[in-house]
Amino acid sequence: MEPDDEIYANGEPDSSNNRNRPIISGEQLDIEAYAGLYTGRTKITRLLFIADQCGQNNNTAMQMEALRMAYEEIKKGENTQLFRDVVHKIDGRLGDKYGMDSAWCEAVDRRAVQKKEKLENELNAYRTNLIKESIRMGYNDFGDYHYTHGSLADAFKSYVRTRDYCTTSKHVIHMCMSAILVSIETGQFTHVTSYISKAEQTVDALDPNTVSKLHCAAGLAHLDSKKYKLAARKFLEVAPELGNSYNEVIAPQDVATYGGLCALASFDRMELKNKVIDSINFRNFLELVPEVRELIHDFYSSHYASCLEYLGNLKANLMLDIHLHDHVQTLYDQIRNKALIQYTHPFVSVDLHVMANAFKTTVAGLEKELEALITDNQIQARIDSHNKILYARHADQRNATFQRVLQTGNEFDRDVRAMLLRANLIKVEYKASRKL
């Protein structure tokens, strides 16, 4: 830990935070370990994303660390464009060792051109011979070639082109998986969804692992379109056998975090218990991220303070996640609102002081939050602001029914009259037009 941080932590009067430190990964993200979870292109993009985020927060040390690892990772591949970007971003701040390596770039580019020529020749030969399987392979190789060199749009096109030459359902699956991979990288989640459904149609060639991968991708797509409930369901369906086999997109830890948070934000208590806490499948994932497991259990057993504390500590790291960062705030708000609703639900009256304590907030702040929820009709209660007590309000069904009856009657009355009038107007207009 940096000295700056140390002082800051000591200066922070929040002692409970310090007490819980040992079991919570509240400290900075260990980039090395994080990057180790992933392979391929996503590793690089994730590292670059972290660097960008840290750059915005002026966390130079972490930014440099991320950039350094990205540099090393790119050097292993053949993507010179990305390499130039990273070097530009590093801007000589990591010493000569991480400077521009033009020789390497040229060598790689030269090899790339050669390879492209070779692939083109091969493909042309296949095409003249009209051997379906070979043409498919040719396009597939082209896709791989574009993918490794970073032109994702071309890669996507090439992969999709193999579709016409697929002869077995295995090939279809392969095509879909490649397309999904590229689309996730480019963030075009509409493509992802369509290729998932395409893949799911070819039932005979689906092995359990592929199904899990598809679930992951579907979860990501739903997450991207803010359908948290559907996203949670998809992530919860992922089988633990997935392991590290889909590292080029998602790590099992991510499945646990994404699934857990989405479930917490969107499920009711029943569903949370049945599908998350009691699920043997998902338990395996949760074991990988004990913080998420703990906070789900805390939430379920109504230890909101510690649950919210876990969440608070996780937040910084989640903000560095390439898929989740946009949704962290929404998810957190939803979870907090749910906690507030659940807290008030069983009581006829709640002392706001006690409640504020449980949620580690001030009475005034709590009042505002409750007010918003009541206005949204999410909590049926009213606040006694004088005595700082929240009273549950039980809707009077009888009165409400009477009110509604009268209102509906009035509306019907008005609407029918308007309708008759309108019909007459149309009639008049029509008759007039006939006379003309």
């Binding site: 409750l370 007010e371 009541i374 206005t375 009213r382 606040i383 006694d384 602001s385 004088h386 005595n387 009273y391 009077d396 009888r398 009165n399 009477f402 009856v405 009268l406 009657g409 009035n410 509306e411 019907f412 009355d413 008005r414 609407d415 029918v416 009259r417 308007a418 309708m419 008759l420 009038l421 309108r422 019909a423 007459n424 107007l425 149309i426 009639k427 008049v428 207009e429 029509y430 008759k431 037009s433 006939r434």
Partner: protein, 425 residues
């Protein structure tokens, strides 16, 4: 060849029984042109006739004598004459020649306006409307009467006529004007619900192209819905007609008002006020500034009303803060006013500066309430019957059947109502 004298004699002789009247009517129709030619020297003869006994003949001569241009001086005399005639004439007789009667009323209206004394026209025109109308039928006089009421600021008199149901319409234009003026009168009487209903009729009326009345009505409609509902009212018919298509129809004209509604929906008084300030001139040139100001004050009310849903007790200071009023004193005045108007149920504890919000005390247990509900049910049942009758009538209407038979491919009965814009026959 006629002479005026012989006509007068005929009128005097043929005004007693129904058979005589129809004979007189044919005579008068034939003499109509002659009367018009003689229009300048007809006045003295009017005095030989009794407006009650000889309503029909009186009407013809009166119409002829008012058909030409009138000077200020003549108008003064005519107004007196016509108002006496309108109040004392017999409904049965004038209904034999409604178009003449309407012409007389129109020129009467013009003369009253020329003399800049609209208030003199209110009572005679009310009588005229009462005499001419049959039940549920909109006469051409309705909008004129309402216009006079508006100009004379006699909202109450005007309102009395708005309470009758109107179902049958001859002229769409009359109907638009009736609803528009009626809406304005209801606004003057602060009967916003009725106003909304009338304006809504204009705004959603089936029309092949937008007309100026509808555009003006739409402006007022938006403002009144904000005052009354806090949003552009979306219920009932909008489901059928698609309110969005409606707003889209008016959008190019009324961006200003739709923006106002959007600003209102944010619920911040300061933003609303800045928006109104920047567009003050435009509202003023539309003559809607007064209504816009009412929109602002309705926002305070609405915000306070919202508080009653969330709080049992709240200090006046807090109310002032949340609703963005300058002082607790002002908040107290607002709350007090609202309690008085029956818009909220609350008690103010001045010692602590606390307001205690109560539930609606209506328990729906009283006899009056039961009676009220019963009368509503009765009313709705009559309406339903009328609807069925209308349906039968239309399905037997040869015009309609011919149309449906011919254009079945284009119009299904089901979308007959739902696509009014396409209804350009």
């Amino acid at each position: 060849m006629y002479t005026v004298e012989s006509l007068v004699a005929q009128i005097q002789g043929l005004s007693s029984s129904a058979g005589d009247l129809s004979l007189l009517l044919t005579h008068l129709k034939q003499a109509d042109e002659f009367l018009h030619n003689e229009s300048t020297r007809l006045f003295p003869f009017l005095e030989q006739l009794d407006p009650t006994l000889h309503s029909l003949g009186y009407l013809y001569i009166l119409e002829a004598s008012t058909s030409g241009p009138v000077t200020n001086e003549q108008a003064r005399r005519l107004v007196l004459l016509i108002s006496r005639f309108l109040t004392s004439c017999v409904a049965d007789q004038i209904r034999l020649a409604p178009e003449k009667f309407i012409a007389v009323c129109k020129s009467f209206k013009d003369q009253v306006l020329m003399l800049e004394a609209p208030i003199r026209g209110v009572v005679p025109l009310l009588e005229a409307v009462k005499k001419l109308r049959s039940s549920e039928h909109l006469t051409t006089l309705h909008p004129d009467f309402l216009q006079i009421c508006l100009l004379a600021k006699c909202y109450k008199t005007g309102f009395s006529i708005l309470e009758d149901d109107i179902f049958e319409v001859d002229q769409p234009r009359d109907f638009y004007l009736y609803c528009y003026y009626g809406g304005m009168i209801c606004i003057g009487q602060k009967r916003f619900q009725k106003a909304l209903e009338l304006l809504h009729n204009v705004v959603t009326a089936p029309m092949s192209s937008i007309n100026a009345i509808a555009v003006e009505a739409f402006k007022k409609y938006v403002l009144v819905s904000l005052i009354y509902n806090g949003q552009i009212y979306a219920g009932g018919f909008e489901v059928l007609f698609g309110f969005h298509s409606l707003t889209r129809l008016f959008l190019p004209f009324e961006q200003l008002y739709i923006e106002l509604a959007n600003t209102y929906s944010i619920g911040k008084i300061s933003e609303l006020e800045t928006y109104i300030q920047t567009n003050r001139e435009k509202f003023d040139s539309d003559n809607n500034l007064g209504l816009v100001k009412q929109v602002v004050s309705s926002m305070y009310k609405r915000n306070i009303q919202r508080l009653t849903q969330t709080y049992l007790t709240l200090s006046l200071q807090d109310i002032a803060n949340t609703v963005q009023l300058s002082s607790p004193k002002e908040a107290e005045m607002h709350v007090l006013q609202m309690i008085q108007d029956g818009e909220i149920y609350a008690t103010i504890n001045q010692r602590d500066g606390m307001v205690r919000f109560l539930e609606d005390p209506e328990q729906y247990k009283t006899c009056e309430m039961i009676e009220h509900i019963d009368s509503s049910i009765q009313r709705i049942m009559t309406l339903s019957k009328k609807l069925t009758a209308m349906d039968e009538l239309i399905s037997c209407d040869p015009l309609y059947l011919a149309k449906v038979g011919r254009e079945r491919q284009r119009f299904d009965f089901d979308d007959f109502d739902s696509v009014p814009q396409k209804f350009n026959i």
